[in-house]
Subunit: 145 residues, 2 copies
DNA sequence: TTCCTTATTGAAAATTCTTTTCAATTAGAA
DNA sequence: TTCTAATTGAAAAGAATTTTCAATAAGGAA
């Protein structure tokens, strides 16, 4: 991941808090709320303040390095974004989040909506919800919600 | 709108607060936050408490009568939902929100993702962002954000 | 390497958002 | 009209997020 390049290119410093948060998100397989990030870093022995978590997430979002996931069952959570246009699919049972590449599948939908509504479409938010391979098996992880 | 039927069918009463909030959402063309709903009702002379706004929105969401819109520039806002499967498109300039009917445009995308990820897709969140007819005209509503 | 400047952090407090509690009220059935 | 349970309002509690400002530290310059 080239987050170091992106930070310094924009004149931001590569501080310990930023490094820690990015590295935590890199190994997380679920979207994490600011609280959760703070908790996990504390458990890893870091003294990072919650305020810094908020600030860092704000910056990383601005830089396009992370993005918010809106799981209706949860508070908004943050996940790392890789290069290129992606969306996410989230497990409704264990909340595992996975990125998948966008293709032009929705171009025709966008065209249709532009015709129907006279809006000019410039962006979209697409998140899929369902069951991950593990939770599809009814007996593997307990009761489905 | 048949919200009265839906409420009483499920054993809920048709109280004044519920009526007021639904009627406000019926004429709103932007998604409204609980705060905004409270403010607007107060201006209309209602003494409705903010707490009741939260409670009512929670109930109406549960009943499928309203839905949350996640405009990244704004706090989450609520809009009325009509019968059937719809999505929303939101103006990035004036935040006007419009419902449009879902079609099977995204079925092939869902199929593809199921194959690629081995998730079973059960739901999705799709919101488009762009410029409404009024705001497409560069000189009509001022500077674009 | 050491120094210096300025971005960044931490801690506390302020603010805002949302939920809980419980007594008073009211919708709607009897 | 009366009665009862659902609903509301007000206050308070609890979370989430932002602001402020002095202390710290990153990274370029000497």
């Amino acid at each position: 991941m080239n987050y170091k390049a992106i930070l310094s290119q924009k004149g931001y410093r590569l501080s310990a808090p930023r490094k820690q948060i990015i590295e935590l998100l890199e190994v997380a397989d679920v979207a994490l709320s600011p609280q959760q990030i703070h908790n996990q870093l504390q458990q890893n022995g870091s003294a990072l303040g919650l305020v810094s978590v908020y600030r860092t997430l704000g910056l990383l979002t601005e830089l396009g390095l992370v993005t918010i996931l809106y799981d209706p069952q949860l508070n908004p959570g943050y996940v790392l974004r890789t290069q290129g246009h992606h969306h996410h699919i989230v497990c409704q049972n264990c909340h595992k989040a996975l990125e998948f590449p966008a293709t032009n599948d929705i171009d025709s939908l966008v065209e249709r909506v532009e015709k129907q509504t006279s809006f000019q479409v410039r962006d979209h938010l697409l998140q899929l919800f369902g069951l991950c391979p593990d939770c599809k098996q009814p007996d593997s992880k307990g009761v489905l919600s």
